[in-house]
């Protein structure tokens, strides 16, 4: 144990890799279970001009969760949380569907862009609202975003008029069902956002600032980091990722359901971030870890679906995963393990 910790202090890279170990092992274990339950699980084929196979399907379905988890990760990195993402997904989906629904099914590309711009604009506004309450009014993040979580579903219902809006506009389905160079477009979107985020974090000082704010907001402020605008911006970013996820989900099923779109997504996103090794009290983040965490959750869902257990049972499995991930992060638990290990050796 001491040897390992010395090694990590010598090479910071090791810490990052070790963090990824847990989600990677989980991913591998789930893939094995998946192969056992359905033999062709890992095979990737080429059909109708695009990649196909169960694994590609998992990646495609994980795209909205990946996006939202990235936004959640950035907010958590500065000691925040955003539990309104599910509601924002529903609002964005409702806005997009009602704009495109009003334009009619033969509308051109203009209506599509209006719908995308409208959905993203409203999602960014939702993020700004959260940012305003947390950064501006100084409310606890869990409570500030709880407000939008409660009221947001009502707002989404109000936009859709309490109905499930069905979209008949064919180009709209490209967002959630289309392929670019054979790769699902939703996945391309998730990758684009990931690349942009990684560049912003690694090529500018943003990453450093975010870690500084998360470790000690006061010290960061004293050191001249403009903590408040940055934190505000991260809430807007989180809202935007939820907006993109909302577009993908509603396009995927060609409808917007104010009640059920993005239901429990906030929990999945927090779980993905925690599984990926980002501590929930901020100060560190791992983009790769979060993406892996999102994949683990989607794979778990798929494996449970194909195993014949009731689909809703994966809630219980996810809960056990959270408990395990949280305990492994807890210093008190690691101490307990170390002491238990020590007595056994003695």
């Amino acid at each position: 144990m001491t040897g390992a910790s010395e090694a990590t202090s010598r090479r910071a890279d090791h810490a990052g890799l070790r963090q990824l170990l847990a989600p990677l092992v989980a991913l591998l274990a789930l893939a094995i279970v998946g192969t056992l339950t359905s033999p062709g699980f890992l095979s990737i084929g080429w059909r109708d001009g695009h990649l196909s196979g169960q694994l590609i399907d998992v990646l495609n379905r994980a795209a909205p969760l990946m996006l939202v988890s990235l936004g959640m990760m950035m907010v958590i990195a500065v000691r925040g949380i955003d539990i309104s993402v599910g509601a924002v997904v529903a609002i964005a989906a409702a806005v997009a569907a009602s704009i495109i629904g009003a334009a009619g099914k033969d509308a051109g590309a203009g209506a599509l862009f209006a719908a995308i711009a409208g959905a993203l604009g409203v999602a960014a506004l939702c993020g700004a609202w959260n940012g305003l309450l947390v950064v501006g009014a100084g409310m606890q993040p869990i409570v500030a975003t709880l407000i939008l979580m409660i009221a947001g579903r009502g707002v989404a219902q109000l936009i859709t008029g309490g109905q499930i809006i069905t979209v008949y506009h064919a180009p709209y389905s490209y967002l959630g069902n289309g392929h670019l160079f054979g790769i699902p477009f939703a996945l391309v979107l998730a990758l684009l956002v990931t690349v942009a985020l990684v560049l912003a974090l690694a090529r500018t000082a943003l990453g450093l600032f975010v870690r500084a704010i998360g470790m000690n907001p006061l010290a960061a402020h004293v050191a001249g980091v403009r903590a408040r605008p940055i934190a505000f911006g991260l809430y807007v970013f989180c809202g935007l990722t939820a907006g993109v996820a909302g577009l993908i989900t509603s396009s995927n099923v060609m409808s917007a359901d104010g009640n059920n779109a993005g239901q429990l997504l906030e929990l999945d996103a927090i779980l993905a971030v925690a599984l990926g090794g980002t501590p929930l009290n901020g100060g560190r983040y791992s983009v790769a870890g979060t993406l892996l965490g999102a994949l683990v959750i989607q794979l778990l869902t798929t494996v449970i679906y194909s195993s014949g257990l009731p689909p809703q049972a994966n809630l219980a499995f996810k809960a056990l995963l959270v408990f395990a991930a949280m305990l492994l992060q807890s210093a008190a638990f690691r101490d307990l393990l170390r002491r238990a290990g020590g007595t056994r050796r003695a």
Binding site: L133, L146, I147, G154, V155, G162, I270, P310, L315, K318
Partner: protein, 326 residues
């Protein structure tokens, strides 16, 4: 001066809440003819009995500065477990009810230990608990199970006459829970420790109070209240269903905050929570009386109220002795 400010922070939100309640009732009375009928008010209790019970448990958790997001799910698990035990396994309600209450308390114990012993954040632990409880409920059955056992039917139909109207067994239980909550908060060492921990955990420790035990205790209490709420809901709905009580945790938190309990802990009253529950009930009643407003307005209004009271809390904190130091 400081003392007066402190009193403000303690009582001002509660005073505003009570004024708001009166204003809402007055508005209802002016607009709708039969709004002031006594049974309308008794129905506030009848229809919100489970929320009231859950919110009392939540008050203690929030007083320590924690939060319990699992209450709605634990409630659903309770309804499911009761219905399945009684209907499908022929267990007597006399055995089933204590058993489900114990399961709720056990859930709370799990949360409390994870939060207190391992220093995990309350919201994430109870969020996972919410997953677990709903998942377990779904594992019992994904379909709703209706309860036809004679004891449940009789308890559900029973009405206690009060002269001006009548209330259900659930509402009576809710009143007893509120009374017990007030007693627990103000007349026991557990209650005093809860307030002390919420005010300043380190100071409470230095005073030699049993902080650890109390921190676990509030979650056990909340789990127990959620299960009791679940038993009352089983009577109210006469069914067990894994989707019962979805979003209830939010209503309970809203009721507690509207009732004047500070989210950072240390200040608040169980009686305030009771008024908070009544306000949420009145809003719902107003929306029902109106008839043209859709039910999702309830959620928007609840969200707006929560926002208003949170901002009020921030304002009071900034003005109070705690904020003056910054």
């Amino acid at each position: 001066m400081n003392l007066r400010r402190h009193l403000d922070a303690r009582l001002l939100p509660l005073a505003i809440t009570i004024a708001l309640f009166i204003a809402l009732v007055a508005a209802g009375a002016i607009r709708y003819e039969h709004f002031l009928a006594p049974q309308v008010f008794l129905n506030l209790l009848v229809d919100n009995a489970f929320l009231c019970i859950v919110a009392v448990g939540m008050t203690f958790v929030i007083l320590t500065g924690g939060i319990d997001l699992s209450v709605g799910a634990v409630m659903a698990l309770t309804t499911m477990l009761s219905a399945s035990l009684v209907e499908r396994h022929g267990v007597s309600p006399l055995v089933a009810i204590p058993l489900v209450l114990a399961v709720g308390a056990l859930f709370g114990l799990l949360h409390g230990v994870l939060i207190q012993r391992f220093g995990l954040q309350p919201f994430i632990v109870t969020l996972a608990g919410m997953f677990l409880a709903r998942g377990l409920a779904f594992l019992i059955s994904t379909e709703s199970i209706s309860v036809t056992h004679a004891v449940y039917q009789q308890l559900a139909a029973a009405r206690l006459p009060l002269g001006i109207g009548s209330i259900s067994v659930g509402a009576a239980v809710a009143c007893m829970v509120v009374a017990a909550g007030i007693w627990l908060a103000h007349a026991t060492s557990f209650g005093r420790t809860v307030y002390a921990v919420g005010g300043d955990e380190a100071a409470a420790r230095l005073m030699g109070l049993r902080v650890d035990r109390t921190l676990v205790g509030v979650y056990v209490l909340s789990g127990f209240c959620a299960a009791l709420g679940g038993v009352v809901m089983t009577l109210y709905m006469l069914s067990g269903y894994s989707l019962h009580g979805s979003g209830l945790e939010l209503d309970a938190i809203a009721a507690v905050v509207i009732g004047g309990t500070l989210l950072r802990g240390g200040i608040g009253y169980v009686a305030g929570t009771f008024v908070g529950v009544l306000i949420l009930g009145v809003i719902q009643t107003l929306i029902v009386f109106d008839g043209t407003l859709s039910s999702w307005w309830t959620r928007i209004v609840a969200g707006a109220l929560l926002l208003a009271f949170c901002l009020l809390q921030r304002f009071l904190e900034a003005r109070g002795p705690g904020g003056a130091r910054h």
